[in-house]
Symmetry: C2
Subunit: 295 residues, 2 copies
């Protein structure tokens, strides 16, 4: 059996490491949404996690896995999103500096999160190339440790604690739907497909698969369901109106998926009864949320 | 000792009665809001209760306290707010009709809740007088039982289960802040004061004290803190931005109160360390929320 960058053992280790630092997030249910989907839905609210997204789990596991000597120089990352705020917060808890390379088009509330938690912002252009160049420069100047937003074993193991926790809370879950950046074309092709453009309202899902995350997706994810922007917006609206929860676009796609015809009409999924849905984050500017509802 | 319409015994009874019907709602915490207030805050999220507000507890306790003969004719109420949806839902669970008298200026999302749960809507003019007249007519025609929105022992005992549940979840709480319709002038005068107008953004708090609720407020509530509409809006914004929770204006006033100078600067409250705040409901139209933020 192939060795993955994260497995049940590393995830259990992560759970023990971050237990006293991260929130145990609640699971919400709604009979209205059960009726709408025809299944029993269990919403794992990582939007209520520290920093407003699940990313705190991975960042926290990575930061607290460092030995004191490495940690002292600080941590560095390039992220325009929730990993940026999460890493800032985790570094603050450990009392070390966090250097965050952010592109100029990042959502305002995510930049505010970095500032709130004391991360030091270094601006880059919107391209991945620019962010990586700036990050390399920061790494050289500070001697800090790079904590990649996703392609990192400790980060992956930290994120994996969501599922472990959810299964402890709701043991009868038989299916789990989680947000993923791409993956559909890669799974079909049997190798990582990089896209020239990733144009979606889900700003947290514009990344790619990495060499550490890809084997997990390739071997252990049953299927990737694609949802359109209008379905994501409808799911955010349902989350707000019925569950009273602010969910960002990337976080709402699990609900969008379970309500989509692609899922409902696929005979392969007809026996999925108790479905865990990860509301991965809630960092959405209210004005942008409202504007998207009007269109 | 005076006998109150609800006490710890009737509340414990209510808790046993509604246990399998109502959600045990989660408690959220935030270090950012702790820093802002200088206290440890515990947010009891009744916005996640069935029907989107705490009112389900009281309605449920009242409906399931009826004997089968009384219940069969249905329940009646006059409410433009959360009690209307809550009573409809509780009646639906018991399989009996709910007749809801609603004034024409009620918030859209609260009317939709009544429809969602199968309540039968009878429209009235905006005045309390019109609502009561129409309700009396409905009572005569149907022979149904009136479940008053608040001045009712079973309803009060059901609502009281919030605090019991919160104290079980967070035993170290030393202070509880709850939304209240008026009460400040009544406490000062030593009798119920009725106002000609109740003009506030908090549409759930435009009612008055009743002869059953007043003794509790008179004797057992330490103080009533008044907050302005702009403070309520700021609290809703903090709830959305930091906690990722949709809280309606009436539900946000506990957070507004704890952040107000009236509270912060009063030496009587300086030893309040662990404060329970009831987010009583989340039924707010997103467009109205956004409009209020812009003003």
């Amino acid at each position: 059996m192939e060795k993955y960058a994260a497995d049940i053992f590393s995830i259990r280790e992560a759970q023990a490491r971050i237990k006293s630092l991260a929130h145990t997030t609640p699971v919400l249910t709604s009979e209205s949404l059960n009726d709408l989907s025809g299944r029993q839905l269990y919403f794992k609210c990582e939007c209520f996690q520290k920093g407003g997204s699940f990313k705190f789990r991975g960042a926290c596991n990575a930061v607290f896995s460092l030995d004191d000597k490495d940690a002292a120089k600080g941590v560095v990352t390039h992220s325009s999103g929730n990993h940026a705020g999460a890493l800032s917060f985790a570094a603050k808890l450990r009392g070390i500096p966090a250097y965050i390379v952010i592109s100029k088009n990042a959502p305002k509330c995510k930049v505010e999160n970095v500032m709130r938690y004391g991360g030091q912002i270094i601006w880059a252009e919107a391209s991945v190339q620019s962010r990586e160049e700036v990050a390399n420069k920061v790494l050289q100047e500070t001697g800090g440790i790079l904590i990649h937003p996703y392609n990192d074993g400790h980060v992956m193991s930290g994120q994996g604690t969501i599922s472990l926790e959810l299964l402890e809370q709701v043991p009868q879950i038989d299916t789990m739907i989680v947000p993923i950046s791409g993956g559909a074309q890669s799974k079909a092709a049997g190798r990582i497909i990089m896209l020239r453009e990733t144009n979606t309202i889900a700003d947290g899902l514009r990344g790619f698969l990495g060499d550490k995350t890809w084997p997990v997706v390739r071997d252990l994810v049953d299927d990737v369901i694609i949802v359109e922007d209008n379905e994501i917006i409808e799911a955010m609206k349902l989350a707000f109106d019925i569950l009273k929860v602010a969910v960002e676009p990337s976080g709402a796609i699990g609900l969008a998926a379970v309500l989509s015809d692609t899922f409902k009409k696929n005979p392969a999924w007809k026996d999925c009864r108790n479905i865990g849905i990860i509301f991965s984050g809630g960092n959405v500017d209210l004005g942008i949320l409202w504007d998207s509802f009007k269109t």
